[in-house]
Amino acid sequence: MKPRVGIFGFTGCAGDQLMILNLEDELLDLVGALDLKSFTMASSAVEDSEYDVAFVEGSITTPKQKQKLEEVRKKAKLLVAIGDCAAWGGVQASCNGILTVGEKMKEVYGDEKVWEIYESKPLSAYVKVDFVLPGCPIEKEEFLRAAASLLRGDLPEAVDYPVCVECKLRENGCLMLEGKLCLGPLTVGGCKARCPSLRVDCIGCRGVIEGEARVKSAMQVFKEAGFKPDYVRARLRMFAANYPEILEVKG
């Protein structure tokens, strides 16, 4: 029996689901290898089913989403967060801890209560997440490899080293040494140093290495390099504001 798979999306740009649709060369192989029960972005047909693997994109921002996520979790043997929104809460979390949801609503809608929303949180704030495929968007190759493992019933090997490793393996010069605010040392690798290889400083779209990222040390190094704390904080918050150490960083 082919593994039953569901692909779901919550608050986000749907870029990770689009990435899966964009697989082109491999899409047919992938679809052939599994029993796709639900992929709302690709087809409106949704089967009520149990899932061997559920891929979930997006952050959770409403009570309805939370309920739906909990349903998916109950029906899924393995739940995989795909993309930065699902992994960390995404760009929409970047003001968490600075502005409350109430303040944001008031700013946009005035005093009228439109609907109930939550502060943007990753899936793991509500349900158990078995594996995270980070990135904004996810990496095609990484997704395919992980999918192959998951379909076989194995958890994939998680990347837990920084972007710097992949930068050095490619013999890239260090952008921090060139005076750029590169978040490579804090950021989960696996992107093959996509941006720094083009001499663009890492913006941290794959999130921080949990329990490892040396945020305080980086703040010190960036400060000594002459970057303003406000700017550093904004950069750190863009993709990983919900990481406790980053949430605490003062502007």
């Binding site: 080293y161 710097c164 393996l169 040392p185 040396r214 010190q220 000594e224």
Partner: protein, 328 residues
């Protein structure tokens, strides 16, 4: 050792001979970055240089390589038998090879490293040190072996030291001339002059014990800025650590086994299945790294790369003098 002389004007001839042996990899400068790269013409080569970003060990122990493929549970090795030439290697990096040889050529030898090492000619050349070099303090300022040819710059010509049978065959080409005592004396004098320019010194007396007994607070202070990014290891000519991963394809039964340089400053280095990490913090990892480089034996070759390329500006030599109790 056999000695020969090569006029600088005849260097292109040697280069041609080397090309006849195999692909030539040499230091090249692009956009201010120096690295070993495959070259076709001597004109591409930067003959006088300080250091490349990655050490030339990358040719023997590749940064990332497929070591085997599998189908079902049957594995097929992927060994490389190509002949190659490493042209323009400095004494520190050649001494780095010797240290890695002891790891990878000792039984049971690593076939991947061993075959490339055996199939690669190493041609050394006089270096241009900068303020970060300290090879003379760790006994790596001069290469006594580990190369096929070593070119000592004597001004208009090179003294060529011949270090292997293949080197001997090359030195029999008609563009080489005989050399002896006079040229060796001159080369030694010039090497000494060059070594004299090295201001950086490192005192390793008792260093292993100093590292072992340095307190936690001291280490925390010394590593406060460390980003645990692994750069120091990844640019080191004597770091040997590697990790191995299986890469699965959608075809499930087929895939590859890949190995990649690893760093002892990273989380997974001493992490065992089940979640216990034997070196959980940057402090333990730094103690391990320094012990490995200069505690147990002197594996550091003084090339300065870990200091030059550290994004946090942590200075290897300064860190060790601090451990000795000299001004922090």
């Amino acid at each position: 050792m056999r000695y020969a002389k090569l006029a600088k004007a005849d260097l292109p001839k040697l280069f041609q001979s080397l090309k006849g042996y195999g692909e030539v990899f040499a230091p090249v400068e692009e956009r201010g970055k120096l690295f070993f790269k495959k070259v076709e013409d001597l004109k591409e080569v930067k003959l006088a240089y300080t250091r490349t970003l990655l050490p030339p060990k990358k040719l023997f122990l590749q940064p990332e390589e497929e070591i085997m493929s599998y189908e079902g549970e049957s594995y097929t090795e992927k060994l490389d038998g190509r002949k190659a030439v490493l042209f323009g290697v400095h004494a520190c990096d050649i001494n780095g090879f010797l240290k890695l040889d002891r790891v990878f050529l000792d039984a049971p030898r690593d076939e991947y490293y061993a075959r490339r090492r055996e199939n690669t000619l190493v041609v050394g050349i006089t270096c241009v040190p900068d303020k970060y070099c300290f090879c003379t303090s760790v006994g790596s300022g001069y290469a006594s072996g580990g190369f096929d040819l070593f070119l000592h710059d004597l001004g208009k010509e090179y003294l060529v030291r011949v270090g292997s049978g293949e080197g001997y065959r090359l030195s029999k080409q008609d563009y080489f001339k005989e050399a002896g005592e006079a040229e060796v004396k001159l080369a030694a004098k010039l090497e000494e002059k060059r070594a004299g320019k090295l201001r950086r010194k490192i005192n390793l007396m008792g260093m292993g014990d100093l590292i072992e007994t340095e307190g936690k607070e001291g280490w925390e202070e010394l590593t406060a800025k460390c980003l645990a990014c692994g750069t120091c290891n990844l640019v080191c000519p004597t770091c040997q650590c590697y990790d191995v991963s299986d890469l699965l394809t959608l075809e499930v039964r087929k895939g590859t086994r890949v190995r990649r340089w690893d760093s002892c400053m990273l989380k997974r280095h001493a992490l065992v299945a089940g979640g216990l990490n034997f070196r959980p913090t940057v402090v333990e990892r730094t103690v391990n790294r320094l012990s490995c480089k200069v505690g147990e034996e002197v594996r550091c070759v003084g090339c300065g790369r870990c200091t030059v390329y550290c994004p946090a500006g942590i200075d290897f030599v300064e860190m060790l003098s601090a451990v000795r109790g000299e001004a922090r």
